[in-house]
């Protein structure tokens, strides 16, 4: 760094660091740089502009970006730039020790003697203590002798209330074997009693809340039960675990199936209501044809069935609505209304809205091809309108066809299930359901469109 500063003729900041130079030559050999005479900044000139024109040495600003400044990067650690500080093998005492034993360790000669820093980590749990009279007065127990209680308190102190370790080191030769819960119960019991009769509370078991003493209450029975359950859980055999896994997997399967069924029902319901609203507005010249739509849905469930029948009736009785309502209530594909301002191509109106999926678009195109209709006809006003209506109907027809197929499948599945459950019996499906399904299936596309309301049907109403 010093070399670069020299080359660039930049004055070095006088550092307190020890450099090789300062060690060898001392301080007298410092170079003095002649600073150019300062030029005053003209009035009104921006500081930045002035800085570009004139710098201290009247040099031009560098053509290439240079990266020698300290501002852009972090300074590397300067090793060996300071004089080494001395270490000494010094004695120390540890205030955490009670015996004032002297050990030695390395410390800096410059560091002043202070308390051994690690002594602050010497934390101990405070365990309640009791005198003999106190024991006899309050703590007597039929189950525990005083010697045993003393042993427990001693172990608690030694192992800082780690009851697992206390249980491990329990003197089984002198006292009978006790469970961890027994030990805990006795200990917390003693804590509770002593905190009531004694004034000094010990930090870990008694907390003062609003000046009121709260004693930790240990529920030994609950703990015993918990541990018993835990043990049972851990000691299951592989078969038991496998069985449980199997049952869980089964449960998941059943739930997935249930969800699937619910989803299908919802889909169908949506479709029916949509078809319903569509058929409501149609010219119902042909009653038989119209009735096809609800009977499709009749496969679904009784509730829906009833509702639909009602709707069917109402739709038959209701007079034909105005065409505007139809366009508003259109359910196949909702083509966006004409845009606000500006010039636009009419063919834009024929674009399918982005909500229509890829598969549906493909299916519609396929149907159009079957009917030998151009996929992109010349967009006159009338063609535009009819074309859109046709495609919308096609979409609805496709949906209904799919729904029908799935209903048919379910019907057959139910029939098989019924026959499997009642061997020997056969479920006769009412021909009204079956026939319609086969009828619809076999019907050419054009007729289906007629059912739901094709442009021609709409046109008739006008």
């Amino acid at each position: 760094m010093t070399d670069i500063l020299d080359i660039l003729d930049i004055e070095q900041p006088s550092a307190s660091e020890v450099t090789r130079d300062s060690i060898i030559h001392g301080d007298k050999n410092k170079k003095k740089y002649v600073t150019a005479k300062t030029v005053r900044r003209p009035e009104g000139m921006h500081r930045e502009v002035f800085a570009l024109l004139y710098n201290d040495n009247k040099e031009l600003p560098p053509l290439l970006p240079t990266d020698t400044g300290k501002g852009y990067k972090q300074n590397k650690a300067k090793l060996g730039m300071r004089k080494a500080r001395k270490w000494v093998w010094a004695p120390f005492t540890n205030p955490a020790r009670k015996d004032n034993a002297v050990f030695h360790h390395w410390k800096r000669a410059a560091d002043e003697a202070k308390e051994y820093p690690f002594a602050q980590f010497n934390k101990q749990v405070s365990i309640p203590s009791y005198s003999e009279s106190e024991y006899n007065q309050y703590l007597k127990s039929e189950d525990w002798s005083q010697a045993e209680t003393d042993h427990l308190m001693d172990l608690c102190q030694r192992f800082d209330l780690r009851f697992i370790v206390i249980h491990d080191r329990w003197d089984r030769a002198a006292f009978r074997d006790r469970s961890i819960e027994d030990l805990k119960e006795r200990y917390y019991n003693i804590c509770g009693i002593l905190s009531k009769v004694k004034t000094n509370p010990w930090s870990n078991t008694v907390t003062l809340v609003n000046g009121e003493k709260r004693v930790y209450h240990y529920d030994a029975d609950h703990e015993r039960k918990r541990k018993e359950q835990l043990k049972r859980l851990f000691e299951r055999t592989q078969e038991q675990i496998d069985e449980e896994q199997m049952l869980i997997a089964e449960l998941k399967k059943i739930e997935a199936r249930k969800r699937e069924r619910e989803r299908k029902t919802q889909d169908l319901q949506k479709l029916i209501s949509r078809a319903d609203s569509g058929s409501n507005t149609l010219n119902t010249g042909n009653t038989n044809d119209v009735s096809n739509t609800p009977t499709n849905a009749a496969n679904m469930s009784r509730r829906h069935d009833r509702k639909l029948h009602k709707k069917k009736l109402s739709s038959q009785q209701r007079p034909v609505r105005a065409l505007e309502a139809v366009t508003v209530e259109w359910s196949g594909i909702k083509f966006p209304e004409a845009r606000g301002t500006g010039v636009w191509l009419r063919s834009q109106r024929m674009k399918l809205p982005p909500g229509v999926g890829q598969r549906k678009t493909k299916a519609i195109e396929q149907e159009l091809r079957l009917m030998s209709i151009d996929i992109a006809p010349t967009p006159t006003e009338a063609i535009c309108k009819h074309f859109n209506e046709l495609r919308s109907d096609l979409a609805l027809a496709l949906d209904l066809k799919n729904a029908l197929a799935s209903c048919e499948f379910e019907l057959q599945a139910l029939r098989h299930q019924y026959e499997a459950l009642n061997p020997g019996k056969t479920l006769t499906i009412p021909p009204s359901i079956c026939n319609t399904s086969t009828d619809v299936e076999s019907k050419p596309v054009g007729e289906i469109i007629d059912v739901v309301g094709s442009p021609s049907a709409v046109n008739n109403t006008i």
Binding site: A101, H105, F118, R162, I164, D168, K227, L230
Partner: protein, 428 residues
């Protein structure tokens, strides 16, 4: 001590020594170092001192008859490989260890003398000493050790820690289920919050010695002779599986069987070290045959490839009721139900046998099939074989150089006041 407040890294080194006596070797070194200074075989050669005259015998005032009787009765102790592996007449090899504990205190004193004078080369009264011990060490043995250190060696401070606890510390755990696969036995000890659960510890006599014995049996059945390496003068280069051609050395008469056996055992250990490999699953002839063999040349010059035998040999370490996986399960099930999840979550493997290739993988696999599925099972071990062997020593090295540990030592003052009875309280 370093850092601005003297507490950087939480370490404070006070020049303590760490001793880790084991059946195979004794590890000794300074705390805060990452490997022991010395790894000394745990056996001592005891023989008459006639071989090399002592310098003291040349003292001019020595009476001829007196010095004669002296050399006749005086025994010399040969410690560490450079002394021990020399063929000497009438030198018996003896060990001071038995069942994981120090038994022969006179011999152990000789070993400590050697450590202080030849390894540490510093007077014992300058260094606090931290010793490791097996979990089942009896109270008299512990007290005897404290007595020895304070009264004979004038140690400024002393501490005893269970080796399972230290192995857990070496792996950065305070709660762990430590599997120590040592030379004489394999043990599984649960450690909770830095305390070994003594009543839940289990062990089996299957260890490195057993493996070496199995290797001996295997070679016998294959009719391969393991000649003692010290008896070979020269050998010729021969083709694989060809009959060995060698000339024997003339050895001094009166070599003791104990020494010969010890030397042969070292060779079988070396053989195991080079050849033995643990298969990932239970031994299967066909899968073992696929693995390429390893070449081994015996001291006589005979050499051959060992293929499936490598895997077959180590199967004895995973026997149904004696192997490490069974011990781990037994130890875990002996613990309180509340401690079990934490123990299964950190199974720590250490010891010389654990350094065997594939041993840890096999243990992990067997445990995975035996452990209750409700627990998360994780098996830890140091990556390098040396760190696995020295796990307990490394843990001791870490512990003795921690600043907050420095209050735990039993100082010589405390010993003078309280006697050795306080050992049980101070070193749990």
């Amino acid at each position: 001590m370093s850092g601005p407040n003297g507490m950087l890294y939480g370490g404070d080194e006070i020049g303590a020594l760490v001793f880790d006596p084991g059946h195979h070797s004794l590890r000794v070194g300074y705390a805060q170092e990452d490997t022991p200074k010395a790894d000394i075989p745990a056996v001592i050669g005891v023989g008459p001192a006639t071989h090399i005259p002592d310098a003291e015998q040349k003292v001019p005032d020595g009476n001829v008859t007196q010095s004669g009787t002296k050399t006749g009765n005086e025994l010399r102790h040969y410690i560490d490989v450079t002394e021990l592996h020399v063929p000497r007449p009438n030198m018996e090899v003896q060990t001071y260890m038995k069942d994981g504990q120090i038994e022969n205190w006179d011999l152990f004193e000789k070993m400590l003398d050697y450590c202080y004078t030849k390894v540490i080369r510093s007077p014992s009264e300058h260094h606090p000493a931290l010793f490791t011990e097996a979990v089942w060490t009896t109270r008299p043995a512990r007290e005897k050790l404290a007595e020895l250190l304070f009264e004979k060696y004038q140690a400024p401070a002393f501490f005893l820690v269970k080796n399972a606890v230290l192995a857990a510390f070496a792996n950065g755990k305070s709660t762990a289920l430590v599997v120590d696969a040592g030379a004489s036995q394999t043990s599984a000890v649960p450690v909770v919050d830095g305390y070994a659960l003594v009543s839940a510890a289990v062990r089996s006599p299957v260890g490195g010695d057993h493996l070496a014995a199995q290797a001996k049996n295997m070679l016998n059945s294959m009719h391969i002779q393991m000649l003692p390496v010290y008896s070979i003068q020269s050998k010729e280069v021969i083709r694989e599986r060809e009959r060995a051609r060698y000339t024997l050395k003339t050895l001094p008469a009166g070599l003791t069987p104990s020494w010969q056996q010890y030397m042969l055992k070292r060779q079988y250990e070396d053989f195991c070290h080079c050849i033995a490999q643990v298969s990932e699953t239970a031994y299967d002839e066909r899968t073992a045959a696929v693995v390429p063999g390893v070449h081994y040349e015996f001291p006589g010059g005979y050499h051959q490839d060992f293929g499936p035998e490598r895997f077959k040999l180590t199967e004895c370490l995973f026997e149904q009721s004696l192997g490490a996986p069974h011990l781990v399960c037994a130890a875990a099930s002996a613990c309180d139900a509340d401690a079990r999840p934490a123990l299964w979550g950190s199974v720590v493997a250490c010891g010389g046998v654990a350094a065997l290739g594939g041993w840890l993988e096999r243990l992990a696999k067997e445990l995975a099939s035996r452990a209750p599925s409700s627990h998360r099972l994780k098996t830890h071990a140091a990556p390098s074989p040396a760190e696995r062997r020295f796990a307990a020593w490394i843990g001791g090295s870490i512990l003795a150089s921690i600043g907050s540990f420095q209050q735990m030592w039993i100082s010589s003052q405390e010993y003078d006041e309280g006697g050795k009875g306080q050992l049980e309280r101070k070193c749990p």
